[in-house]
Each structure stands twice: as structure tokens, then as C-alpha cells.
Symmetry: C2
Subunit: 286 residues, 2 copies
């Protein structure tokens, strides 16, 4: 995939976008966001951090220690900073920073866009379903990285509903149908497949067992190998955890998520790098 | 500043945007980006990380150890992850994660948007000036945080030229004039003030002395206290460091940078939270 106009690869396995690829990235995002707005959703823009103590309520550190990324600063004590700054070689021979003492790590780099909503709405009684959308840079450490396909940081657009079980199911069905329409218009080879979240040590995690018994995640798998999006039904897990209620009961929630860089990967491998060969659905925001 | 429609404050001192504030955020960014495009600039979208070894070439760790933020993951050894996941209390009593052993830290969370360009263009001989723009989430650890005013992560739009000394000076003058027009149209109380970069231990840093002797940074200071943007002339520092040449000599570079959340702060404190009172220049993208 080298020498594609508008795509640069970094040694860290990340992509830089410009030109037609950046336009396609934005058109796709505008389109997904519009589906949410058509359903009455309000758009939010969140900071890149989530509080570690909020994530702890989701048992996140036990479930995904292999993925989590923390933003850490150096210990703020001036003597400590001075020692760091005075080092002859701040980096070791393999390009790693000799960190020394660190400041307390109370934040986590966003692992999934929709978590922000449950934290924001905690403690609320909803008198109507909440329709929400956001696009966020998400961070997941992986065993290896490939530009567009598997990046330590990548971009996720999410469309979310919080409400009763019926309200959430109806939303997910509507959004899945819209995704199917776009997949058909783009003639992308996509199959829907039941999946589970990528738990650490899954056989020891009761959440993994629960997801296996009652599937909650369905992925849009491109070309038999790459999930470019997913539909997730969370039951009332977030409602219970964050005290969000609907009709006096813990609220249900669900989301449809799109990995924007992976959609570009699908576009490039299906139609090639020349934008003149791309379908109208990608070069025109509708 | 509480109870402003479209603004939520997080305990971490960061802002969540929606509704009219999110629209104003986007309109401002679209406007700044258009100034760059009018000058022939190409827009790029970068990942959130910069390589620590590239930043080391700028002597960044010696100059700004107090600001730098690293994305760090846990040591990937399964035994180490298992120990972390098995902890009864992953967080201490003050909400800090008991990190244990960490994976090598080879990346840095973007401290300034334009650094990405010098890394990307390293080693190039330019046969015309490069006009560039990007918007990036930037990260700077501070002694305290205030939503919109001083956030650990915030959004920076930058307009950049790399070329000869004359080409860069002409670009910065043009862009400063456009900023002045907008500041006048919005009737914002802004003064331009010479500033220096926020070096650690400035009296010991020769770069700080150089900036004091020959100013390179001029800030747009809102209401006598908050820099909402800056014009920066880097001389040929980045050209020399990254081997970018123009006419056979190390290239000069400069940028104009806008802190988007701080523009919202200026808008809110100047015109109040009701969008009906906001000037057309903020509610219409032009």
C-alpha cells in the first residue's frame, strides 16, 4: 500500500492523511453523523482523557490491561524535572525515554468513544431516550501496528442510544439497516459476524463467558478479516454501573461504531488509490 | 462560567462541547483553515503521537520536561499483565493507577501541531514554499487546569509555511493581517505581545536567551491575560534540525497558531452564553 496519494506511513505504524483520502475520511464521518442526527442525536466533542476512577467502575483494568494507554507526565518536583532535563541521554539506545519518576496517573486515553457518554450522564433519570453521537480518537495498544488497519490511535465515530430495551433495539436495527445500505452502495464485501470484546485472559473473565452465552457484539467484517465497524448492545450494564435510569429502571444502551481509518483501508483495497475510481457515496457528502 | 448551554465541565478541568458552542468551534476552525487554503495550503491529519527520537532532535526533553506527556502502556509480558489485572485495588486512595512495570515509552503525545510537518518533510529540498495546515489535539501538563482556558489536552489549528526567509515573513504578515481583521470584526479586546516559549529553567537554557535577544513569538492576548493564538517565526531552526532545504540552504519556517477552546472562552466572556448575541462571524462559516 505504499505510494498512495494522500497517505503517508509513519515508522510507528500510523497513517498521515491528506488530499482525497482526508476528504473521503470526512465525507464518511459526515454521513455517519447524519444518520445519528436523523434519529435526533446531539453531537458532543470530548477531551481525550477519561478518569481512571470512572473506568475502574467498569472493571476496565481487569478486563483490558493489555490495551489500556495512560497519559503520563513526569514527577512535577523541580529537582526531579531538573535531573531528567540534565540527563546526557534522555533516550536509551532503542529510542525509549528514560522516564524516571512519574506524576500520578489518574487519567486514561479514551479506549472507546461512547464511554464518555455514560460518565457524562451518570445519575440521570431519562424521561425520553437519549440519542447521542461523537467522533473520538481512541487508543488501544496492540501486539503490532499497520497503518489504517491497526493503529495505536485511530478514529471512531459512534452513534449511541440510551433508553429502554425496546428503544435501544429499535435504534440498533435502524442504524444497522443504514450501514447495510451504504455497504451495498459501495459494493464492499462485508459480512456481519458475532464477536466478543477482546478481553484479557478471557477464560478467567466472567464478562467474556456472559458475552459468549448471550452475544452483544456484531462486527462488520470486511473481506473476511478486518472489522470496520460494530453494533453493540450493552444490555443495562452502563445504566446499572453509572446509575442512569429510564422508567425507574437501569437504562439499556447500545451503539454502532465505525472505525474511520479502516473504512479508508476498505475503500483503497476495493477501488485502488485513484479517487476517480471511487464511488460517488465516498466523494460526496450526502 | 457554569450553566452555559453546550458546555460541560469535567472534574479534570476539561470541557465537553455540544450544541452552539461546538458549532462555533467548528466555524472558527473552518475559517482559519480557509485562510491557509487561500494561500495554497494542503491540509493534513496526523496521528496523536510523535516519535520521542524525533523530538529529541529538537532538544525537546531538556527544554520542556515539565509539559511533556507520554502515552504509556503496561509491560506486555503476560505475567506482568496478569499481576496488574489481579490487583484487588488497581487504583490508590487518590484515584491514581498503580502502574507497575511499563512498556518502553517511545512516543510522545503531540505538544504542538506543526512539529508533525518538520518530521514528515525531513530531508527534502523544496523547490517552492510549502504551505501547510493541520488541526491537532495538543497535550501540555500544567500546574493547574481550567476548562477552555488551560486544559491538559486542547485543540490547535496551525497554518505553516516552510521556505525562504522572505517567503515565511510574507506569509506570517498576511496571516497576522487576516487574524487582525477577524479580531476587529468580533470586537475582541486583543493585544499583540512579544513572548517566549515556556522553557523549563529558562535562565539556564540558551534557546530562551536567544528568544529574548531576538523575539520569535508574538501572542494574541485576549483581555490582558489569555493568549488565544500566536505568530511564530522559527528562523531556520527546523530546517537545520530536519535537513529541509530551500535554494540549497536550511529552510526557514513560521506558523500562526489558534487555540480553539480559548477562542470559545473569548467569545463566551465577551458576548455571553446566548448564541443569539454572538456576531455573525462566529455563527456562519465564511
Amino acid at each position: 500500500m505504499r505510494h498512495i496519494p494522500g497517505l503517508e506511513w509513519l515508522p510507528s505504524g500510523q497513517a498521515v492523511l491528506s488530499g482525497p483520502l482526508l476528504e473521503a475520511f470526512r465525507f464518511l464521518d459526515v454521513r455517519f453523523a447524519r444518520w445519528a442526527r436523523d434519529a435526533g442525536a446531539v453531537e458532543y466533542r470530548f477531551p481525550l482523557f477519561l478518569s481512571a476512577s470512572e473506568l475502574q467502575r467498569l472493571d476496565y483494568f481487569r478486563s483490558f490491561p493489555h490495551l489500556v494507554t495512560f497519559p503520563v507526565a513526569l514527577d512535577e518536583d523541580p529537582e526531579s524535572l531538573r535531573a531528567f532535563a540534565a540527563a546526557d541521554e534522555p533516550l536509551d539506545g532503542e529510542g525509549a525515554v528514560r522516564l524516571g519518576k512519574l506524576a500520578p496517573a489518574r487519567e486514561v486515553l479514551t479506549p472507546a468513544a461512547c464511554y464518555h457518554f455514560y460518565v457524562l450522564l451518570q445519575g440521570r433519570e431519562l424521561d425520553a431516550p437519549e440519542n447521542l453521537t461523537t467522533v473520538a480518537t481512541c487508543f488501544r495498544r496492540e501486539a503490532y501496528y499497520r497503518p489504517l488497519q491497526r493503529q495505536w490511535n485511530f478514529t471512531m465515530r459512534e452513534l449511541v442510544r440510551i433508553g429502554t430495551l425496546e428503544e435501544v433495539k429499535e435504534f440498533l436495527e435502524t442504524m444497522r439497516a443504514r450501514a447495510d445500505e451504504l455497504i451495498a452502495a459501495l459494493e464492499l464485501p462485508v459480512e456481519w459476524r458475532v464477536a466478543t470484546d477482546p478481553f484479557f485472559d478471557p477464560t478467567r473473565n466472567p464478562k467474556h463467558l456472559a458475552q459468549t452465552l448471550e452475544p452483544v457484539k456484531t462486527e462488520m467484517v470486511y473481506d473476511g478479516e478486518l472489522a470496520i465497524g460494530s453494533v453493540n448492545f450493552h444490555r443495562n450494564f452502563f445504566g446499572e454501573t453509572f446509575g442512569i435510569t429510564r422508567g425507574g429502571e437501569p437504562a439499556f444502551s447500545g451503539c454502532i461504531a465505525f472505525g474511520l481509518e479502516r473504512w479508508l483501508y476498505a475503500l483503497l483495497t476495493r477501488y485502488g488509490p485513484d479517487p476517480r475510481a471511487w464511488p460517488a457515496a465516498v466523494v460526496e457528502a450526502r
